[in-house]
């Protein structure tokens, strides 16, 4: 009696396991190994800019996450090429953002997500620079990059050369440091309180400064320290 019951239970558990196993799961290992060099974008870019691509990766082996690491000097011309070449026509910059990797020598990384509304392809580009270096702005290629780059400057502290209007966008202009740096504490450094104190100490002066900034409408000096 007991044995029979146990057998039944085991059988039920086995059935359930078999059922679970039968559900097809997309495993990264099962995906056929991709010959990245054969992908048209990679092939054409290698022809047009022999030394621009530093690395081709598919992070986490997740399909459609093809990533090209581009050398910083060539980034602008590569972007323009990808937009204007009819085979790709990446006419839409979906996203642009910065990532901070404090352990690396080239500690700042700009990530571009490109998409083509015509050919429905997507592509991720990356550019890495050192702390003191600036990245060429791509806002002359896609105007949408303007605000994205301002945000990357504001939050990560990446400086963009030839940007039409490189001001902070989400934080006030007086803010010190860049919150999305890894070493920046999540609870902040009391900037908000300092700013309130600054206003309370001399409200008229604070207002005058504010108005002057509004009137001048020009981007601040990009010489300020990033992160520290």
């Amino acid at each position: 009696m007991d044995e029979k019951e146990r057998e039944e239970k085991i059988k039920a558990a086995q059935d359930a396991a078999a059922k679970r196993a039968a559900v097809p799961k997309p495993s990264p290992e099962a995906a056929p190994t991709l010959d990245v060099e054969a992908i048209p974008v990679v092939r054409r870019l290698r022809e047009a800019f022999p030394d621009a691509i530093r690395e081709v990766t598919v992070p986490g082996k997740i399909p459609d996450e093809l990533t090209l690491l581009i050398s910083a000097e060539k980034a602008l011309s590569v972007c323009r090429f990808l937009k204007e070449e009819p085979e790709f026509s990446f006419n839409y910059l979906a996203d642009l953002t910065g990532v901070h990797y404090p352990g690396r020598e080239e500690c700042l990384e700009v990530v571009y997500h490109l998409f083509s509304i015509k050919t429905r392809q997507r592509l991720r580009l990356k550019v890495r620079v050192r702390e003191e270096e600036a990245v060429e702005s791509v806002s002359s290629v896609w105007r949408t990059a303007n605000w994205h780059e301002r945000e990357a400057y504001d939050l990560v502290g990446i400086r963009f050369r030839n940007h039409p209007d490189l001001r902070r966008i989400l934080l006030p202009e007086e803010w010190e440091g860049h919150p999305l740096r890894r070493e920046y504490p999540v609870e902040g450094r009391g900037e908000g309180l300092r700013y309130v104190a600054h206003v309370l100490r001399d409200p008229e002066k604070a207002f005058r400064e504010f108005e002057e900034r509004q009137a001048s409408q020009k981007s601040p000096e990009v010489s300020q320290e990033g992160g520290e």
């Binding site: 495993s27 992070p59 839409y92 105007r143 949408t144």
Partner: protein, 366 residues
């Protein structure tokens, strides 16, 4: 001859037509706009920084507070990104529940938009009508999830609860009556002379400019570009559902209005098919208690939220928390096209333009 001089007009951040805390600095010559500076950040809460400091599971409620008129859409985008990152596949029933609920959410978000947009332009009645139907949808959400606004319902790997039996009858009833309600809104607006004067030919943006400025969602489709992520890169079960993508012609406020009204009808079609096709089965897949996606994995996942392309870019370093999480909010990017739209227009048209790109400041400032 009368002389005019340039005038700087500050609009917001407490202006009722700016839908939150948007501030505009307008440069005027007479009543004509010659320059616009958009000042944002008043609602910045550092969502991306918070995400780097909490486990993947705990970030779902924060996504509710991005676009708070469409919490479920933000939930969906985030959980799909984490699922792709850690190779989890939700059960089919959960996928259908997600699609049905997010389409209801799209209707609710469009109703908020239509009501407030019409009220900005002086049509008070439409607001009351829209919120009447939105109330029914929020009642559905309350019935299913227990919450109405910040819903926090989707989980990594599926959904936590099934649709209750009494939901189906009421949902079908709503789907029967809602097309007639849309006719009511249209009867108030679509051929209304004042509405046409305020919207036709106002805040025009060409298809080329719209793509270049990264405009997405109904605002892009109003300019005649047929780009919808549900069709361009079908996610979840959208590849099994039939729907049309409405597009406009001129890219003015009126076209964007027509696109959104038509989108509500298409959402009804999608929900109908979803309710017919929904299979029996599990609600949530097995997900490890400590979710650690593989180190070095990166994903950019995007969905068609009511406002446009909502993307989540996540970088994993193999830990329990994201190394970097970037939220590509459609409102943030769409707002960038406002200066171009209002250039050369009148001050009153700014209100129409802000309404027609449908920004939610929670998502702009993050």
């Amino acid at each position: 001859m009368l002389e005019t001089k340039e005038l700087i007009l500050n609009m917001g951040p407490q202006h009722p037509s700016t839908h939150g805390v948007l501030r505009l600095v307008l440069k005027l010559e007479g009543e004509t706009i010659v320059g616009t500076d958009v000042v944002i950040g008043y609602l910045h809460r550092g969502s991306e920084k918070i995400a780097e400091n909490i486990p993947y599971f705990e970030f779902v409620p924060y996504t509710d507070r991005l676009d708070y008129t469409a919490a479920l859409s933000s939930n969906l985008g985030y959980v799909m990104a984490v699922e792709k990152l850690s190779n989890i596949r939700p059960p089919e029933r959960a996928e259908y529940i997600r699609v049905i609920l997010t389409e209801f959410q799209r209707i609710a978000a469009h109703l908020v938009w239509l009501g407030t947009h019409a009220m900005d332009l002086g049509a008070m009645t439409v607001f009351l009508y829209c919120f009447r139907e939105r109330e029914t949808i929020l009642d559905f959400f309350e019935m299913i999830t227990g919450a109405r606004l910040t819903i926090n319902f989707f989980r990594i790997g599926g959904v936590p609860a099934d649709l209750p039996p009494q939901f189906f009858a009421r949902a079908w009833e709503f789907l029967e009556t809602f097309p007639d309600r849309i006719k009511e809104y249209e009867a108030l607006l679509t051929r209304n002379k004042i509405w046409l004067k305020r919207t036709k030919g106002v805040a025009v943006i060409s298809a080329e400019d719209a793509i270049d400025l990264g405009l997405t969602g109904p605002s892009l489709r109003g300019s005649g570009v047929s780009f919808d992520i549900r069709r361009a890169e079908p996610y979840s079960v959208y590849d099994r559902l039939q729907f049309d993508i409405p597009i406009g012609e001129k890219g003015d406020v009126f076209d964007r209005y027509m696109v959104r009204v038509e989108e509500m009808r298409q959402s009804i079609r999608i929900i109908r098919q979803g309710l017919e096709q929904i299979p029996e089965g599990d609600l949530i897949s097995r997900v490890p208690r400590k979710l650690k996606p593989p180190a070095g994995a990166e994903v950019y996942v995007r969905i068609e939220a009511p406002k446009g392309e909502l993307g989540f870019y996540i970088v994993s370093d193999g830990g329990e928390k994201p190394y970097r999480l970037k939220i590509r909010g459609p409102s943030f990017v769409n707002l960038q096209s406002l200066p171009l739209m209002v250039q050369g227009g009148l001050v009153a048209d700014v209100v129409a333009a802000i309404g027609s790109i449908d920004v939610v400041l929670g998502e702009v400032d993050r």
